[in-house]
Subunit: 205 residues, 4 copies
Amino acid sequence: MEKQARRAQVLRHAKRIFARKGYHRTNVADIISRARIARGTFYLYFENKKDLFEELLEQVLRELAIRIQRIRLGPQEPEPAEQLRANLRRVMCFVLNERDLTNILLSHALGFDPDLDARIQSFYDRVAAQIQRSLDLGITMGFVRQCDTRTAAYCILGGVKEIIGQISREAPPDIDALVEEILRFGLSGVARPELLQTLSAAVLG
Amino acid sequence: MEKQARRAQVLRHAKRIFARKGYHRTNVADIISRARIARGTFYLYFENKKDLFEELLEQVLRELAIRIQRIRLGPQEPEPAEQLRANLRRVMCFVLNERDLTNILLSHALGFDPDLDARIQSFYDRVAAQIQRSLDLGITMGFVRQCDTRTAAYCILGGVKEIIGQISREAPPDIDALVEEILRFGLSGVARPELLQTLSAAVLG
Amino acid sequence: MEKQARRAQVLRHAKRIFARKGYHRTNVADIISRARIARGTFYLYFENKKDLFEELLEQVLRELAIRIQRIRLGPQEPEPAEQLRANLRRVMCFVLNERDLTNILLSHALGFDPDLDARIQSFYDRVAAQIQRSLDLGITMGFVRQCDTRTAAYCILGGVKEIIGQISREAPPDIDALVEEILRFGLSGVARPELLQTLSAAVLG
Amino acid sequence: MEKQARRAQVLRHAKRIFARKGYHRTNVADIISRARIARGTFYLYFENKKDLFEELLEQVLRELAIRIQRIRLGPQEPEPAEQLRANLRRVMCFVLNERDLTNILLSHALGFDPDLDARIQSFYDRVAAQIQRSLDLGITMGFVRQCDTRTAAYCILGGVKEIIGQISREAPPDIDALVEEILRFGLSGVARPELLQTLSAAVLG
DNA sequence: GATGAATGAGTCTTCATTCAT
DNA sequence: GATGAATGAAGACTCATTCAT
């Protein structure tokens, strides 16, 4: 158990440095001096630098996946919108608590290794697919308007990612308000509802 | 003028390679062998590798900025929604025509140099600010509902970025339809309009 | 005595690995994992890796030295050729029984440490000197023809070493026949005896 | 051509150092400081340290192979014994002129890489096979006595190798005399010819 | 005695950049 | 202007050995 603790210690330090400097500008020397271990000790716990980085990446993907739960229907279940809200809130809270991990995912993970790129892309694709399924379900149930749910799903995903990027740089004062704002945007867009019929007809063709 | 042509040639080759392999995995050797110039010649045209990369990055940011025009009001001007649509269409067409450049911006540019990161971030912030100003204007004019326009702006920006990422990987069959879908999503969200009032009251608090 | 047994155990395992992989490609990790002892335990029994290797080397040199006995003259002693034959047989049998040790000596011992190189070289030199003395004696006694006994000694030594290298790679079907063949070669060479006088005069000048 | 010269320069220096210190104790640092080139320059000419070493090894094997020519029969050809003598003389002269290369082959090449080991072994096997073929031919022609030519071939090979090892350590005063001595040993062994018949009957069974 | 986590000196290799021709 | 050989700083990784428990 001691061993795991040491490993975790190194991971924690590395996370911090990777988040600030990115993969390439981070040396093994940086990590070991921060973690106060010898060079060889590093390789006792991790196969190599990339291995450690991947582990952090897997960690953030795993943690996020846990927090994104599919919308469930049923008499016992909360309203779909409420489940959505809960998902968003969980993700946002995680991001706020683990800004370094988030930063690694958002800023430093893409484009340095084809394998990892694929893994990240596949994660996002799975999230998008989950959103899309929810939207399809919503259409069936009459909550959601007819639309290209794939495109909508990616719009939603992108919006959330962008907001996450923002709050990982600067913590928002009120996370709940933010979540509400996102929800409202996703559900009703920015147009004044009163004008939507007109818009539909006139502007949106 | 010969010099400029040669320079452009190198830029074109480099763009391709950077797009595929990213900044770090691209060697100067890769570039010069593709461009069929000698090592020393490379440094005749570009200060260094980073300089070349920055130039490509500036190029894509410049091209995008040109295509994103602020919403103008006036008797001569098209409807705001139409201006929006035009912006989106221009951006999407550029992305499709310059997938490599787009890839560089979206996938390979972040996290390898603080300067560049800042420049990219600032570009996005300016775009977001522009969107936000448009939304504020829309509220004033009564088109847009009351909302946190900053959050909405980042949601919109994120959605568009995500879609761009998608189409830079896989070209969509119909760019106009896609633009419409995005517009509709941004304006009216995914909820059925008929339910919005109920939603407003019940679910969205 | 427990300690000696343990030590011998480690030596046995190390012998095997050194024989197969050579000194440099053999890690302490290889040895301890094979011997099922802890890293620290290794250094309880041996000063270091080189020390262990040296011990194996000394062992093989010692064992060989024991088996190579000088030719003794006297009414009680067997014929010189018989003593020669016995020496060869003992060496060959040892080699067959201790192929790993032989391999270490022949293939992996030379060229990694000046000290050891010198020790091995000196061993061979001593063997060569012994052979030379026997030849000189043989000349005195009229068994051996006039020749440069030093050169002849090294030829004999080399021939035997080469054969040893062969049989350590692939066991021969009949060790006695092999010994006879070597003896015959050393005593009478490859030329047909009937031609030797002619040869001496004509070809060998 | 300049490039080849530089390469050869590095090879020459490396040869010297490898011969003295062996592969493992020789650093790239040793080589480049001796050759007065920069670290990167080394890798301009050689893929890596092993590559350079292999090249030297191939070189010595090639040079030796050239000097060992098969015994040819025919009215135009010199006597077989003369051809033998010429082979030996060529090899010995090469060894004397290229002691470092010889040293590399004899002392430092075995046991550090399975591939190279196999290549060297295969070289020796080919030489042995060539000797054996000559002996078989000699038997057919009546020059060579009936014997196990394979064993005899390895004895001859081993003898020559051992002598080579000696002269690479200490140059002999008279190379021709040495060659004669080896030839005589190989042809007629060490026993006094007058006794051979007796020996055949009495001692050699 | 036994353990195995920790150490850090030692090496190889890469690659952006320079500069003499 | 063009070339490409040369440079050397920088960085990853190995592994024999030690030592606190």
